[in-house]
């Protein structure tokens, strides 16, 4: 397998990680909003920030894959 193939697999693994992470954040945020609709705005803001943090880690993987691919 070439280094490009390995880089593609790495990008895929990074996407899986980010998918699980953002999915958990989204699920919990939805649950929290359903329980306390009056906190809707605050929960949404924190959920977006947390999603950005999770996504950043996955994007590091994407950048490495880009440099290798």
């Amino acid at each position: 397998m070439t280094i490009t193939g390995i880089a593609a697999i790495g990008a895929g693994l990074a996407a899986i990680g980010a998918g699980v992470g953002i999915g958990k954040i989204g699920g919990s945020a939805m649950e929290a909003m359903a329980r306390q609709p009056e906190m809707h705005g605050k929960i949404q803001t924190s959920a977006l920030i947390l999603a950005a943090f999770v996504e950043a880690v996955a994007l590091f993987g994407v950048v490495v894959a880009l440099l290798q691919g």
């Binding site: 803001t45 977006l48 920030i49 950005a52 994007l59 590091f60 994407v62 950048v63």
Partner: protein, 361 residues
Amino acid sequence: MTVSTVKNVLFSVLFLTISFVGFAKEETENPEKEKFDAKEMIMHHVKDAHEFHVIDINDKAVSIPLPIILYTDNGLVTFMSNEFHHDDSGHHVVEKDGMKFVKLHEKIYQLNGNAHAVEFDAEHHPTNASTPWDLSITRNVFMMWVSAIVLLLIFVTAARTYKKSEGNVPTGIAGFVEPLIVFVRDDIARPMIGEHKYKKYMPYLLTIFFFIWINNIFGLIPILNGANLSGNIAFTMVLALFTFIITTVSGNKNYWKHIFWMPGVPVPMKLFLMPIELIGIFTKPISLMIRLFANITAGHIIILALMSLIFIFETVLIAPVSVAFSLFITVIEIVVTAIQAYIFTILSALYFGMATEEEHH
């Protein structure tokens, strides 16, 4: 959701479809290209360029020439990029002030002596050419100026309408701009930095919010052909550097204490946390830089990759699928333009808030 909003959304969707069909045609009109290289096409669109290539009409490239400014050993050399005649393969030699220049993969080389083309050694260093300092007004610099002028026009006009209107009621374009500014103030600056200190950081937060947003939007307009400014790592690096400098300069005693001698934990833990917190100072702006760069670049690559499916499979049957998918991704990207500007701004505000937080008693 009023009727006019729905109409606006429909019009923008229509506009985007038409533009992408136009882009697809541009590629099919070059059948003599023996093999379609998706990677090369995508990278050409994502990277910076020395000319502003708008469209190909009957195999003739229509582009806006941009000035090339080189700092060579013999001083400053300037010429327009159309002197290269759209050549990017390093064959067309431009002679200026007794020096010879070629452009290869958007990099300008100065040829030595009688050389006609650049030659490379095993480590990909040029053997018969040198690389002068390239201070050109490239596509990205050009787009940066355009977006700065557009922002100035919008905000100066908005500011003027307040003078005219009675009782500070926003009219005209101010009606569009004011809710956004209030949003940055009430949903970003106030909760993140705190009621007493947020005013000092408002100008910076507003500037990066609108600058990143408008550049993200310009990157999505197909006729500008991927003026991918916010997907340029140098651009995002400078923005992150500003956040880093402002955070470091405005850091108070409490901030530095949390970095070097974390209160409330045992001494071995303090020693363990110090290097981690020190690295953290630098990883925060670096992650800001990479997040914006990778998000916008990835968006561009996905849209272009979906469009290139047509030319990879060489059939028109795949076209509806790939147009539909790239339209779908484009709509998502329109949302991402705003979200990424918001994330960059709110994280900057968060870091300023951390730097200026007072000790709790």
